[in-house]
């Protein structure tokens, strides 16, 4: 199996190089035979990568500790599901996993386009081959997961990092990677459009779903990372502006700008240059994100995968930036569009403004993330920008964005007269005023939460009003029942109403973010039988006890919670010692989620001379809204992606 894995990787490298070379020959000589060789080479290479990955998974499951990678990230006592997660626990495995996801996308796109868009696909395949080749070189020559332990050395396996032994870690990396890697598809099409000089909205149309899907996956991946941080790291929050968190949100921000601005190119064939730049930036930021995680250039909670690969990634990122810049300059004339904005009060200018805000947000986050590196280069000192910087810059920009979420859908494409806009704004503005006044009456005094409340109400009223008016208009035209009218209305314009659902999800998330401002916490030591009060809850430490489990020993604390003399729950935070990992100590958080607040407890030192337990208890309001919001966003994206009946008919007609 080891031989099968390592040889498959080497063969994949050979076939991928062949695909790249023959693709270039075809581009120059226009010889169809070479384009077929290129296509087949790429497919075979992708297939061989899948074989190598299966071989590694087999070794992980079989606990073959003669393989260095398996010895480092697994052990006989590691639970089976976490043995599988070993695939993305270390550098070598996660790079191979990156390739696997790329391979899946390549096979899928290749299959779906086997008879279509041949001239575009030729260049698309070349881009795929270039990216694949880079990762194959890295995996084969620098970070090979099939390296054997030195002769004579033996290992019983060091086991998976305890922090990664959490159910979310089984899905967070794969989904995040589906997002990261997926952006290679629209990027490749953009390059193909530039090379083949087909710069109308065709490539945008072809990649519409392939942009929304990675965007959705990246978003889910980021939220899952937040859930993991919240439930595992024990500081009570889900987002800390950690460099690697930032690295994942950066392409998501530019990606979000992109999925908005392409709508203008679809409708009006405008913003060609801007869209190309946005998707290039998004792809570059995904590679940059992988580089940040893998290089160890910035210390972060993800430092478990750090290595010296930085320089290679940096070179690759530079190469992409350089090639993209040259290509854009060469096609400068074709990228300028003939159409222009008809009116300032139109959906187009709303989208444009939204794009500017997204770019500002991206730059603010990028600046804060890169500042330690820049400060070290300029002043010789690594100065890290903490949460205060990020909150100070991103909160106002975020609120401005929320305002745009409310105004945008009220604008019609091309032009909306000011009078009509004012009339359409009446209900949302009135709702916002009522909500803000209500908040103030309830004692809310901080400016940002008040603003957030008002804006959430503003957007919510706008969305509901839009849906209501849409259904009413449809009923008037066709005489359908409310439900049928709603269904047909959504089916007619999936982008618009899928988007409306996504915006509803964004609202829930903002409610959750706002709730975080009202978290309360207490740190104290309790002996068995003692209790404490927090926000009307009584936390009583009943007892603590020791349990022996397969790969660790745990001390479990029973903390019963009651309110108004009624029992609410028993929280059971744990303190664990993982013997295989040099007796690494780790705290396991206990969370009791209610719709409006989470009860959160974490245990520090247990026992000792005075028989007490060091505890941190928190009450976090509205955290569930963040998770609920992200589910709604996924639903909205799926609604937008789902083919409408009109699309299907059109497909049949053009087939």
């Amino acid at each position: 199996m080891i031989l099968l894995g390592s040889t498959s990787l080497q063969l994949a490298l050979i076939f991928c190089s062949l695909a790249l070379v023959s693709g270039f020959i075809n581009l120059v000589k226009r010889d169809l035979r070479f384009s077929l060789v290129s296509r087949r080479g790429l497919m075979v290479s992708a297939f061989l990568i899948l074989v190598a990955t299966l071989a590694l998974v087999h070794q992980l499951m079989a606990s073959n500790f003669s393989l260095e990678y398996v010895a480092r990230y697994s052990s006989a006592a590691t639970p089976t599901m976490y043995k599988f997660a070993g695939l993305w626990a270390g550098m070598e495995g996660s790079l191979l996993f990156w390739l696997t996801i790329l391979g899946i996308y390549v096979l899928l796109i290749g299959y779906l386009n086997r008879r279509r868009n041949l001239s575009l696909m030729l260049v698309v395949n070349l881009v795929f081959a270039t990216v694949m080749l880079f990762f194959l070189i890295v995996t084969n020559f620098f970070e090979n997961p099939f390296t054997l332990l030195p002769p004579g050395a033996s290992s019983r396996g060091m086991g998976l990092n305890p922090l990664l032994q959490h159910p979310v870690m089984l899905i967070h990396p794969p989904i995040l990677y589906l997002g990261y890697v997926g952006f290679v598809v629209p990027f490749a099409y953009a390059i193909a459009a530039l090379v083949t000089r087909h710069m109308d909205a065709n490539w945008i149309r072809l990649t519409r779903r392939w942009s929304l899907l990675p965007w959705m996956f990246l978003g889910i991946g980021i939220v899952l990372g937040g859930i993991w941080a919240y439930a595992e790291l024990g500081w009570g929050g889900y987002w800390a502006w950690d460099p690697v968190e930032n690295a994942s949100i950066l392409p998501w921000l530019t990606g979000t700008a992109y999925i908005h601005s392409v709508r203008i190119q679809e409708k009006k064939n405008m913003l060609r240059l801007w869209n190309v730049i946005l998707i290039m930036s998004t792809f570059i930021l995904t590679i940059f994100g992988t580089y940040l995680t893998r290089s160890g250039i910035l210390s972060s909670v993800h430092a478990f995968a750090a290595s010296e690969l930085g320089i290679w990634f940096f070179g690759f990122v530079l190469l992409i930036i350089l090639s993209c810049t040259i290509l854009v300059i060469l096609r400068k004339d074709e990228l300028t569009s003939q159409n222009r904005l008809e009116s300032f009060t139109s959906r187009e200018s709303g989208f444009l403004f939204n794009n500017m805000i997204f770019v500002a947000l991206t730059l603010a986050v990028l600046w804060g993330t890169m500042f330690p590196i820049l400060s070290e280069a300029v002043r010789g000192m690594k100065i890290t920008m903490g949460s205060p910087y990020f909150n100070r810059t991103t909160v106002p920009i975020g609120l401005l964005l929320l305002l745009m979420v409310g105004i945008g859908p009220l604008l019609a494409w091309r032009r909306t007269s000011l009078g009509t806009l004012k009339r359409n704004l009446t209900i949302p503005v009135a709702t916002a005023i009522v909500a803000t006044a209500g908040g103030m009456l309830l004692g809310l005094r901080q400016i940002y939460p008040l603003l957030s409340l008002g804006l959430v109400a503003f957007v919510f009223a706008g969305i509901i009003n839009e849906l209501f008016r849409g259904i009413r208009a449809r009923r008037r035209i066709s005489g359908e029942s409310t439900l049928t009218a709603f269904r047909n209305m959504v089916d007619r314009n999936r982008s618009r109403y899928g988007g409306a659902i996504v915006h509803l999800g964004v609202l829930f998330m903002f409610v959750g973010f706002t709730g975080k401002a009202f978290s309360t916490e207490q740190e104290l030591a309790l002996k068995p039988g003692e209790n404490t009060y927090l926000k009307g809850y009584v936390f009583k430490l009943d007892r603590y006890y020791e349990v022996e489990r397969t790969n660790h020993r745990a001390w479990i604390v029973d903390l019963s919670v009651s309110r108004n003399d009624r029992p609410v729950t028993i929280l059971r935070p744990e303190r664990r010692i993982y013997i295989e990992q040099d007796s690494q100590v780790q705290s396991e958080v206990a969370i009791h989620s209610r719709p409006l607040q989470d009860l959160y407890a974490i245990a520090g030192g247990i026992g000792g001379e005075n028989n007490s337990v060091a505890l941190k208890i928190m009450i976090n309001p509205l955290v569930q809204m963040v998770w609920l919001g992200s589910i709604i966003i996924v639903v909205g994206t799926l609604v937008a992606i789902w083919p409408s009946r009109t699309d299907q008919r059109l497909k049949e007609r053009l087939a």
Partner: protein, 157 residues
């Protein structure tokens, strides 16, 4: 023994893969078949459908009260002008000399005599209703049609 077998199997895979990838080179060199024209036609057709979709969207926005009558009229005129451009481009694609959809020849407006762009519902000069467009695919249909001849959609509503 196991290693030997694995090596043999791998060698066979390698041989097969190499044959599969390189076999196109053994064929006679063909002149590249240009897919561009077909792709271009499809892209233009889709652009046309997209423009009709935008007209429908604008109509719906008017019904919803998102735009007033005046804005709607200007938007529709602009969109129809773009449709005309796309139709013109479609005609200029080499090898694409199909008659306009449903055999509708370019005709004149019964009211003012201005030329009517096939696939449009109103005269771009005087606004007289001159035909209907299938809500499913954007093809031109006559006012009495029960089904769209292009995509088969029922048109009674």
């Amino acid at each position: 023994m196991d290693t030997l077998l694995a090596t043999a199997a791998l060698f066979l895979i390698f041989l097969f893969a190499t044959y599969y990838v390189l076999v196109p080179l053994l064929s006679v060199k063909e002149k590249p078949v240009s897919e561009d024209e077909a792709d271009r036609t499809i892209a233009l057709e889709l652009r046309k459908v997209n423009l009709f979709k935008q007209i429908r969207e604008a109509e719906f926005e008017r019904e919803m009260g998102l735009i007033n009558e005046e804005d709607f009229d200007r938007t529709k005129t602009d969109l129809l002008a773009e449709v005309a451009e796309v139709m013109h481009e479609l005609d200029s694609v080499p090898g694409n000399h199909n008659p306009p959809e449903n055999g509708t020849a370019i005709s004149d407006c019964p009211s003012c005599g201005a030329p009517i762009v096939p696939g449009t519902r109103y005269c771009s000069n005087c606004g007289t209703a001159v035909g209907d467009v299938c809500p499913g695919c954007g093809a031109t249909v006559s006012s009495g049609d029960r089904f769209c001849a292009s995509c088969g959609r029922g048109l009674l509503n």
